[in-house]
Assembly symmetry: C2
Homo-oligomer: 313 residues x 2
């Protein structure tokens, strides 16, 4: 078994169209192949405001699969450490023998999560989407925007963050990183009303996006909600959308945007893999409103762990 540290992993992988393709195929596999994906396991460490989530998925026909540990210890910033951490273990699906430990500190999760946003945008947003609206200013906000630029001709960025300072830093970083014009907005409403694509990347516990702000041609991807206490979109947003997509409907009901919504909304939901495989249609016209809720799946982890391992060895 080999151990790879983050520095080695960073040298072989970055967010690019190859990775987006790998993640798109993972969503397709969820529909076309038999996938064994147990529910997420969580170990709580309440005394330190921490938790470790463990995800895994075995996709039939693949010769290896990943087990991922990802932790959130929310007292860490006080110690000068990032809250999030993580690692993946790649196991042979033929023998169960561990092949590699990818001590990536969450890098691969960041990339596969952003890549999923690109897959959603590729299949649901208007092809001529030029204005990207980002709600949230963290690391994933930057990566989501970068992912969008790989699949849509983004020219202009609108950003909203609760802390003005963080939004200004985001503007500066994006200018340097992607050379894009960024405007800091005073409210999430301004972002939504003026954008072609909106990505929400917050840990919000109360809905941020309201249904009155929706407009023809808009696509929204909600990235943030991945636990029982989080929500970024009003249920009316999902209800009004012409197309509502999830990575995994069952998981969205448990941890994502569907959790608080009435049954008729989950009944209209379709899965992203149904679109990537051509079994269902995403956006059908430029005037539709499309919404996608991504809560993160083990098949993405297995797909990116296999991909990076093939690049490392």
């Amino acid at each position: 078994m080999q151990l790879f540290h983050r520095e080695e992993i960073e040298q072989v992988i970055r967010l690019d169209t190859d990775v987006i393709q790998v993640i798109e195929e993972a969503f397709s596999a969820l529909i076309t192949k038999k996938v064994h994906m147990p529910p997420i396991m969580r170990v709580d460490v309440p005394i330190n405001n921490g938790e470790v989530d463990i995800k895994s998925a075995y996709i039939e026909g693949f010769d290896s699969f990943a087990v991922k540990l990802s932790s959130g210890f929310f007292n860490n910033p006080k110690l000068g450490l990032p809250s999030a951490n993580g690692m993946m273990i790649l196991l042979s699906a033929e023998t169960g023998i561990p092949e590699a430990v990818l001590a990536d500190n969450g890098l691969l999760t960041d990339i596969r999560t952003a890549a999923a946003g690109a897959v959603a945008a590729r299949h649901c947003s208007r092809e001529d989407s030029r204005v990207a609206g980002i709600i949230g200013t963290g690391a994933q906000a930057r990566l989501q925007l970068q992912a969008l630029t790989l699949v849509r001709p983004i020219e202009h960025v609108l950003v909203y963050g609760r802390r003005q300072e963080a939004a200004e830093k985001f503007k500066k970083d994006i200018k340097e990183l992607l050379g894009l014009q960024v405007n800091v907005c005073g409210s999430p409403q301004q972002v939504v009303e003026k954008s072609d694509i909106v990505v929400t990347t917050t840990p919000a516990k109360e809905p941020i996006v309201q249904s009155e702000w929706l407009h023809a041609g808009l696509h929204i991807t909600a990235m943030g909600s991945d636990a029982e206490h989080k929500q970024e979109l009003e249920c009316a947003v999902l209800d009004k959308a012409d197309v509502f997509v999830c990575d995994v409907i069952q998981q969205s009901k448990r941890l994502g945007e569907l959790r608080n919504c009435e049954a008729h909304i989950s009944e209209k939901a379709i899965e992203l893999g149904e679109i990537t495989t051509g079994r269902k249609r995403g956006r059908e016209s430029d005037n539709q409103v499309t919404v996608c809720d991504l809560s993160g799946t083990g098949v993405q982890d297995t797909a990116i762990a296999r991909h990076v391992y093939s690049l490392l060895v």
Copy 2:
């Protein structure tokens, strides 16, 4: 984060009274401390007759905890490989940061499982137990016997295995390893009737030990059953026992010997940690029959991972 291979781990740890003490304290912690132990996560790989189980437990007050992957791929022997494999990851309970990967190939599980057998024998068997009966002839059968010799004055061993050849090999190995006299028996009944302590270490799907074979002063530890389809003891064995002990009652109901038994039997069950902490009594006289069902717990993994890491660094 450091990676330790099996060869390094073998150099610092072996089955001894220190490890038995560490595991005894883990059982006590299950009773005296708040323990966060999610249900076992299982990833199935049916096409290769394989599965990976993931266990974890955080014990409040401890500064680290383990996540353990253990795999059983039952086509491996055809490939000349062992079925079982595994590794542990030790995480800081203060920051969630992974401290070490213990690539032990299941060594620590073998040791902590045998040590639990010694804890059960120490608290439940007669102090003058001299005849150990072992049903099963695999690696764990050898370790369980070795563990018994550390806590009881074992002089004589009776063994039964379905394959005579494997039982003869066991006899030869034990003679060399422990210098003990071993007799191979023709039936499990012979073993049980003539032993002071019996340990069952089989993957049996139908009960092996019958209640008519019980006799005054006997202690039985059932190690084998750790899944929904396994059972080593007739329910009447548990029913007739004067004292019936589990590592974790809820887990025994789900995966262990209690699974098929009537409710009144689980009502009389006590946990091993209740005995090790002195809150309940194990054996109270030389004439009692005591039975202990061990299905394996995450606290044992956390305890042994912490112990071995302290020896390695």
